[in-house]
């Protein structure tokens, strides 16, 4: 399925006595290794220079943190 994303959402309980405007949907990011389990061989790699910047050798594990309202610039939406 093409629109796979590491970003997951959950809906907290909104109390009628909640003083602040409710945040109905909250998002969180899950690490790639949850979906990978035992790392398969010959995964696609970054070039050495990119790997140094990205912090990992394999593209699939590249997952920089962006705030909820920050635009994600990484390969994963």
């Amino acid at each position: 399925m093409k629109n796979f994303t590491l970003r997951k959402t959950y809906h907290p309980y909104i109390s009628p006595f909640d003083p602040c405007p409710p945040v109905r949907e909250k998002t969180y990011y899950t690490p790639a290794q949850l979906y990978l389990g035992y790392q398969p061989q010959n995964l696609e790699q970054f070039s050495p220079k990119e790997a140094l910047k990205a912090g990992t050798l394999w593209k699939v594990f590249y997952d920089p943190y962006y705030g909820p309202n920050e635009k994600r610039r990484g390969p994963y939406e």
């Binding site: 790392q39 061989q41 010959n42 050495p48 790997a51 140094l52 990992t56 050798l57």
Partner: protein, 88 residues
């Protein structure tokens, strides 16, 4: 004291060394859990070879990187010359 200035080449070679080291660290950790991944092992050996060559080139120009026999020494004994790693 000596305000020794290092050429730009020092920094480019140091970054290249750092890049190769990072790949070697990643591959080492990967190979610990994947001992029979042939391609990764060949890649590891290629990078290890490249790192050895770069280290020799670096040390010819800028002096020893490591001690206790891991690097040749110039004359006079200069492994403790600045810059130290945190001074670079």
């Amino acid at each position: 004291m000596s305000n020794k200035q290092l050429p730009q080449e020092f920094y480019t070679m140091m970054e290249e060394l750092q890049t190769l080291d990072f790949v070697l660290v990643e591959l080492t950790l990967y190979l610990d859990t994947h001992p029979d991944d042939y391609n990764a092992i060949t890649q590891f050996n290629e990078f290890s070879h490249a790192r050895r060559i770069l280290k020799n080139q670096f040390e010819e120009k800028f002096g020893p990187l490591q001690q206790f026999g891991n690097s040749y020494s110039d004359y006079p004994w200069n492994w403790n010359d600045p810059p130290w790693p945190w001074q670079i």
